[in-house]
Amino acid sequence: MLAFIVRRLLQSIVVMLVVALIAFSLFNFVGDPINNMVGQEATTEQRAELRERLGLNDPIPVQFLRFVGNAAQGEFGISYRTARPVADLIAERLPATIELAVTSAAFALSLGIVLGVYSALNRYGWTSRFVMTASLIGVSLPTFLIGILLIWIFAVNLQWLPSYGRGEVVDLGGWRTGFLTLSGLQALILPAVTLGLYQLTLIMRLVRAEMLEVLRTDYIKFARARGLSNRAVNFGHALKNTLVPVITITGLQLGSIIAFAIITETVFQWPGVGLLFIIAIRFVDIPVMAAYLILIALFFVIINLIVDLLYYIVDPRLRVETPAARTAA
């Protein structure tokens, strides 16, 4: 057990280092930040001096080692754009992204399960056919288009909901939340729907397929034969068994919701880390870009680590040392 955990942790560290290296070497191709940092009046000499002072003239391996050394201590340097500590910028922005991700995950999960169950139980009804067809559209439209479409309908034409921003926020000791104000909740609706739509479709289709599968099994037939009510059979027996894969998928998807919030945040000017990243790219703000990529990689690595460890605990077969088990890990 201990050996497995240690090995798994070491693997995670290697993954993080590789991500850091790839992220870092990419930045050699995004251009020179100096022109975005000084006015056009700066002389050639002043530019060269600033480049030297920021260590941009050092060889890439040296810059990389310095970066990893600092990053390991949670120190990501100073944003080239705002000259503020990157760690502070990210800490300020993370609540917005997490609130958006959690809301959209909740939206996708609740509506996804309800619609999935409904369309499985009424698979030949016209509403469930409509839902299934509509879900195909939801999957195939790109996120930014969905976002703009929603803005067009609900903000510009109906004027029900705001088209941008996060509304009023309340500061709860370092965590700024939009959950506690009316304008904050209103501002949350469109981006959360945009971000959650894809996951919703995914969960709905998964629930429907699993549910249909389960409904065909013998124990459901026995349950019906025992004279249990439809309600008890569908929700007590069938749904419960459907949820296991759904929970696994949802856990894994939460990471990607946070990672892919970039587009939604840009469309809605949602002040989260994704928007921070996009603006950083435009200004070649290398420290912010690097820190963001590391952060997202860390999310994925941790989630995968937890999932693996849970499998290990749940499934005794993995504990036997076999070559197959090693590759599975």
Binding site: G31, A42, P85, I151, P162, Y164, L275, R282
Partner: protein
């Protein structure tokens, strides 16, 4: 559900008419007025602070915190300080604050130090008089001071921000998110990249000089073009500084949105690398075709600026024959004439220079910096193709483009240039002077002319207006005759406002809300 949301928003849109909700693509980078010399940052800082000399909406200069100024000696400017001005915290504004602010803005790491590098010493004569000693005569010091915000000395000392914010320092300073100025607006709240709220300073010295009708400014950066337009259409904004060009016609069709249009302080032009040695950005071995003036003229003749204006810019640009906007001092009106669009003449000139079969060259172009920049380059490539100059287009993001220009790794490139001092000297200094590390930092053409260099250095210190104008005229003469750059057009700026909101247009693209007003 919809009822609740509907009423909530109706409430928001019926907000007090005195609030101005304003958006543009980017946010001020910092509130430290001396840290970064960049458009949105300067705009914000000039609402919170005042400079000694103000630039009015028509770009003329007028008294700000100084009521008058004159050169009392060749190297000494005397500024009379406005009396009875207070900072937002109620403390008095004095000559000491002037000296402090100029010193702060003039030293590293301030981004404004090049503006006022001529200042040697700021001498406080009495409470209302300041003598600014310059290293040599400096005729345009008042113009340069329009960009320098005055801060409170006491406040800066108290909060440990006696020098400007620095990239390499490892920590941010207090002035990044706080401000103490004398300006028409006070800072109410600031959340970088999210929202900045300013409220009117009712004790402002200019309360009677300006409309001052805007009581509250809510500034929100919205980076996505379509979202910015949607927010304006949905009534969530009153003013958009930079509506996307492709949406202008649509916005104009909306009855309750006005588009204000005017010439911007920015020209777009092509730079030609005319160094003698062989350039690696063309297919000609052993020599650089553009070192030959006839080739440069041929390229100029082949470019049809009117077509670019009509087709690429949809009428929203002003073709020009100089690389300087018409409202700057020393603007050479009689020289501002384009070489005629004449493909025959172009081919003749090419043949005379020995390139009857043309040549191939790479054009470096940004694709996210100027209005329709990439499309302009495509048009240019097509036009030069007509005279057998095959253009290989290399268009890339601004950070890579400016890096190439900075490293002098271009043979032929597109550049835009604004003149914040509104004086010809600025253009010569950066674009025509020999590139020597100090001057000529944007002169990637390799152009080097001794007489030009001499003139540029002299006009920096010549106080006699007439002599100086003659120097500027001579320099323009040289610049125009050498065809160092091929001018294309003056960029036009567009500001979108909701009906009933008036924000006077400024060529520097920096709205001044003290002068904005509302229709009743």
């Amino acid at each position: 559900m919809s009822l609740v949301l509907g009423s909530g928003l109706a409430l928001a849109s019926a907000a007090q008419a005195e609030t101005l909700r304003w958006a543009s693509q980017g946010d001020a980078l910092t509130l430290d007025p001396h840290a970064q010399n960049e458009g949105p940052t300067n705009t914000m800082s000039l609402h919170l602070h005042d400079p000694l000399v103000l630039r009015a909406n028509d770009m003329s200069i007028e008294p700000g915190l100084a009521t008058s100024w004159e050169a009392v000696e060749e190297t000494v400017w005397e500024f009379k300080i406005r009396e009875g001005v207070t900072f937002h915290d109620g403390s008095d504004f004095t000559a000491e604050d002037v000296a402090f602010s100029l010193n702060r803005a003039g030293t590293e790491p301030s981004d404004f130090r090049n503006y006022i590098s001529s200042i040697e010493e700021v001498e406080v004569v009495d409470d209302t008089t300041v003598h600014i000693h310059t290293s040599g005569p400096n005729p345009i010091l008042p113009q340069q001071l329009t960009q320098i915000s005055m801060m409170s000395k006491a406040w800066s000392e108290e909060n440990d921000v006696e020098t400007a914010q620095d990239y390499a320092s490892g920590e941010e300073n207090f002035a990044v998110r706080n401000a103490m100025g004398t300006g028409p607006y006070k800072l109410e709240s600031r959340e970088g990249d999210v929202r900045t709220v300013l409220v009117r300073n009712d004790d402002y010295w200019g309360m009677d000089d300006y409309p001052m009708e805007v009581e509250r400014i809510v500034y929100t950066p919205i980076s996505s073009d379509s979202t910015r337009v949607a927010a304006l259409l949905s009534g969530e904004l009153d003013f958009v500084l930079d509506p996307p060009v492709q949406d202008l016609e649509r916005l104009e069709e909306e009855g309750d949105i006005n588009i204000e249009q005017g010439e911007e302080n920015r020209t777009i032009f092509l730079g030609l690398n005319l160094r003698e040695e062989d350039s690696e950005y063309d297919n000609v071995e052993g020599e650089n075709p553009m070192a030959d003036k006839r080739v440069r003229e041929a390229m100029y003749h082949a470019i049809d600026a009117d077509t670019i204006q009509r087709v690429v810019m949809r009428g929203r640009s002003v073709p020009t024959g100089t690389i300087a906007p018409p409202f700057i001092d020393g603007y050479p009106e009689e020289l501002d004439e384009r070489l005629a669009f004449d493909q025959e003449r172009a081919r003749e000139l090419l043949a005379e220079a020995g390139y009857e079969d043309g040549f191939e060259i790479t054009l470096h172009c940004p694709n996210d910096r100027y209005i329709n920049d990439e499309a302009i380059c495509q048009a240019v490539a097509g036009m030069l193709g007509q005279i057998d100059i095959t253009v290989d287009l290399n268009s890339q993001t601004r950070s890579l483009h400016f890096q190439d220009i900075g490293n002098r790794e271009t043979g032929f490139y597109l550049l835009g240039w604004g003149v914040p001092t509104f004086d010809s000297e600025y253009v010569f200094n950066y674009l025509y002077h020999t590139d020597d590390g100090q001057r000529g930092s944007w002169n990637a053409t390799g152009f080097s002319n001794d007489r030009m260099d001499e003139l540029v250095q002299q006009m920096g210190t010549e106080v006699d207006e007439e002599t100086r104008n003659e120097m500027i005229a001579e320099a323009w003469e040289i610049a125009q005759s050498e065809v160092v750059y091929i001018p294309i057009h003056l960029q036009v700026l567009n500001w979108a406002t909701r009906e009933g909101v008036n924000v006077p247009l400024r060529a520097d693209n920096q709205p001044h809300m003290a002068t904005a007003s509302f229709d009743d």
